[in-house]
């Protein structure tokens, strides 16, 4: 799979809209990509797309790999009398990002704008505080509450109106957290059969509590789990020079040692690091203690599952435009493939 094919896949996934609980379009985009590469595929009660690719050898491992389809967004919670939409965030969005944005509203993809008091009229005291989401509204051009309600009933969701752009060295677009993970998982599934049974699950509702992965881990009952993510890169200019940068672009896939939701079992961590070494794949360790990921839902499913998160470093996740490097996408795919291909029951001490 060429680097460009991976980028093209990321583009088609990034440009599709799917907030937590409303992942249908993303699922519909993924299905044709892997339909002929997997043996079974079904959608569960929450909307997880669960795929099964039978192993080609007698190795009895059950391996789960997840990547979440949902992105952060906004939901209509009310109206102003003048026809604007009151909203709440779906997943974590820093409110100070919202003013000045263009959003895409609902299934009819209506354009909407989020504006604030003109700078000329803003009160000095309030200028320095970000406006809380409750005090913002989305303007779709409606002139009455009725018109707004007909165009966007309560519960209508909206996403950032960003279009993917290939800058050569880097690529940018919305929802790299976690369409980058989805692109890598889809590519993995399109490849050769592995020696063991592979369950590739495109999960739902990660952004609102790692929910889809919890259900998928129960259903699949795996021996080991890999969560693929697009994670925070903080390699920007900073005052404190000797603090680790969470992750950095260009240094390859970011491997989690421990985050807010789980700790990687040392044997599994060693295995992944060894795989990187053996195959000469650039990689980095994510600064411990930051963010929660699907490995957090997998590791304590049923009686417990060794799990690890491997992520593509991305700047500006949870904002309208994220940025990542082609080389990091490619190297993350290589590391995931190598780590999984080299697994044996012995690695996980299961014999």
């Amino acid at each position: 799979m060429s680097e460009n094919a991976l980028v093209t896949m990321l583009q088609s996934l990034s440009d599709v809209n799917g907030t937590s609980g409303d992942e249908t379009l993303v699922r519909q985009t993924i299905k044709p990509l892997i339909k002929n590469a997997v043996d079974e595929m079904h959608v569960d009660a929450l909307g997880n797309l669960i795929t099964f690719k039978r192993g080609c050898a007698s190795n009895t491992l059950r391996v789960l790999v997840t990547a979440h389809m949902d992105e952060v967004g906004l939901m209509v919670t009310g109206y102003t009398n003048a026809g604007d939409l009151r909203v709440a965030t779906i997943g974590g969005i820093n409110a100070r990002l919202l003013p000045g944005l263009l959003v895409t509203v609902g299934e009819h993809q209506l354009p909407g704008v989020i504006g604030i008091q003109a700078i000329h009229r803003a009160k000095k005291e309030s200028f320095d505080k970000a406006t809380p989401v409750d005090n913002l509204a989305v303007d779709i051009g409606a002139t009455t509450k009725d018109e707004a309600e007909r165009a966007a009933p309560l519960g209508t969701v909206m996403t950032f109106a960003t279009r993917f752009r290939d800058l050569g060295y880097s690529v940018r677009g919305k929802a790299f957290d976690d369409r980058a993970g989805c692109a890598i998982l889809a590519t993995l599934l399109q490849g050769e059969r592995l020696p063991f049974d592979l369950y590739g699950v495109f999960t739902v509702q990660e952004e609102v509590g790692l929910r889809g992965a919890r259900v998928a881990a129960y259903t699949v009952d795996p021996d080991v789990g890999f969560a693929l993510e697009g994670t925070i890169a903080d390699d920007m200019p900073k005052e404190e020079k000797d603090v680790s940068p969470t992750t950095e672009l260009g240094k390859g896939p970011a491997i989690t040692v421990k985050d807010r939701s789980y700790t990687t079992p040392p044997r599994l961590l060693c295995h992944v690091l060894k795989s990187a070494e053996v195959e000469n794949i650039p990689h980095q360790l994510k600064q411990p203690g930051i963010s929660s990921t699907e490995a957090g839902s997998i590791h304590d499913a049923r009686g417990g599952v060794p799990a690890i998160t491997i992520a593509v470093p991305c700047r500006y996740i949870h904002s309208p435009v994220a940025l990542t490097r082609r080389s990091d996408l490619e190297n993350t795919l290589r590391l995931v493939r190598a780590s999984i291909a080299r697994l044996t029951p012995k690695t996980l001490r299961l014999t």
């Binding site: 003013p99 504006g115 604030i116 700078i119 409606a142 800058l167 060295y169 925070i232």
Partner: protein, 352 residues
């Protein structure tokens, strides 16, 4: 595509921050050339075009001014491949995060305005409006390439496509004041088919956002008998805390106050009523903060007035206006020009 929308789209999407109006100037010139008798650019970059009138020489001249500059950013430093920037004109820091921009370096470079991720900030800091020192432009290239392609002083403009909302509203960047440049364009088109006695000078002024510079210098150059400035005013929006804003799509706004000659204002109102163009009145007790303020005191003084288009979210990259209001402003200007008699001059009641 709706032709007024197409016109607004072309004008608003082009780059042209204060002092760097070349690109937008060329675009407007190309559009105006077939509509006018003469067109030129003055020493400051103001675009000046004239449709000659039918009255005998010496023919009086009306100047209509709409500013073509937009607010923007300028590179003030380069740090490890990231660009530090500051404002050109009244940029609103509260809306910068997450914007797509173009850095006009050795070539046009697509960038994003970013900052450090929220998790490294305290809860309080996360909810504060970002400071200039905390944001930067990321063009996604290696540091050494950035250093060779971008220099301190390069300008940066917002990338935002014009979109159409419901009810023929449009949203995008630089509607302040390209919406009025569009209105002037519509007036030029209308006046091709309508006799007018006076010379009609259409001026796309420069550097309004940094001190009305183009208005002051072009008014000196033209020394018109009468001037109308066209700019935007505050549109009514959901979070208005004070009065003094105007409904969109309820008509153009005609300003009243010391910045404007009352007789000219009266004639504007007459023209609006005669042509059934809906309008609203705006009381302006002092400076209008527009080109009108600069034009009024050029040379020996110019009788001036101001026509405005209501605009929501001013100086944010989602400024919103009604297409119909743009068209109304164009019609009002054309109608006003056409009704000017050759011997008319604004005079005070007590003048002989």
């Amino acid at each position: 595509m709706d032709t007024t929308f197409a016109l607004l789209k072309a004008f608003t999407e082009a780059p042209g921050p204060s002092g760097y109006e070349g690109t937008i100037g060329n675009l407007i010139a190309a559009r105006w050339k077939p509509l006018v008798d003469e067109i030129r650019t003055d020493a400051m970059g103001n675009l000046i075009a004239v449709q000659r009138g039918t009255a005998p020489e010496p023919r009086p001249a009306l100047m209509a001014a709409a500013h073509m500059d937009e607010i923007g950013l300028i590179v003030i430093g380069i740090e490890g491949g990231f660009l530090r920037v500051h404002a050109v004109g009244g940029i609103d820091r509260r809306v910068l995060l997450g914007l797509e921009v173009t850095v006009h370096g050795k070539r046009a470079l697509p960038g994003i305005i970013g900052s450090r991720p929220p998790h490294v900030l305290s809860r309080d800091e996360r909810n504060k409006t970002i400071a200039w020192e905390e944001l930067f432009v990321d063009i996604g290239l290696p540091a050494d390439e950035v250093a060779s392609l971008v220099h301190v002083g390069d300008i940066v403009t917002v990338e935002r496509e014009l979109v159409e909302l419901k009810n023929r509203l449009v949203a995008g960047k630089a509607l302040d004041d390209r919406a009025c440049v569009a209105a002037v364009t519509l007036a030029l088109e209308a006046l091709r088919h309508r006799d007018h006695a006076w010379d009609f000078y259409a001026v796309a002024t420069v550097q309004e956002e940094v001190g009305l510079k183009g208005a002051i210098t072009s008014a000196f150059g033209l020394d018109p008998q009468l001037a109308i400035a066209l700019d935007v005013t505050f549109g009514k929006q959901y979070n208005d805390t004070d009065p003094g804003t105007f409904d969109l799509d309820k008509g153009v706004v005609i300003a009243l106050g010391p910045n404007f000659h009352p007789q000219v204002v009266a004639r504007l109102i007459e023209a609006a009523q005669a042509e059934e163009i809906p309008f609203q009145r705006e009381p302006v007790p002092g400076s209008s903060g527009t080109d009108a303020w600069g034009i009024q005191v050029a040379r020996e003084g110019v009788p001036t007035s101001l026509v405005e288009i209501p605009l929501r979210y001013m100086h944010q990259p989602i400024e919103t206006a009604a297409i119909d209001d743009v068209e109304r402003a164009g019609r009002l200007l054309a109608s006003f020009v056409a009704r000017l008699e050759p011997e008319y001059r604004p005079r005070w009641e007590d003048e002989r």
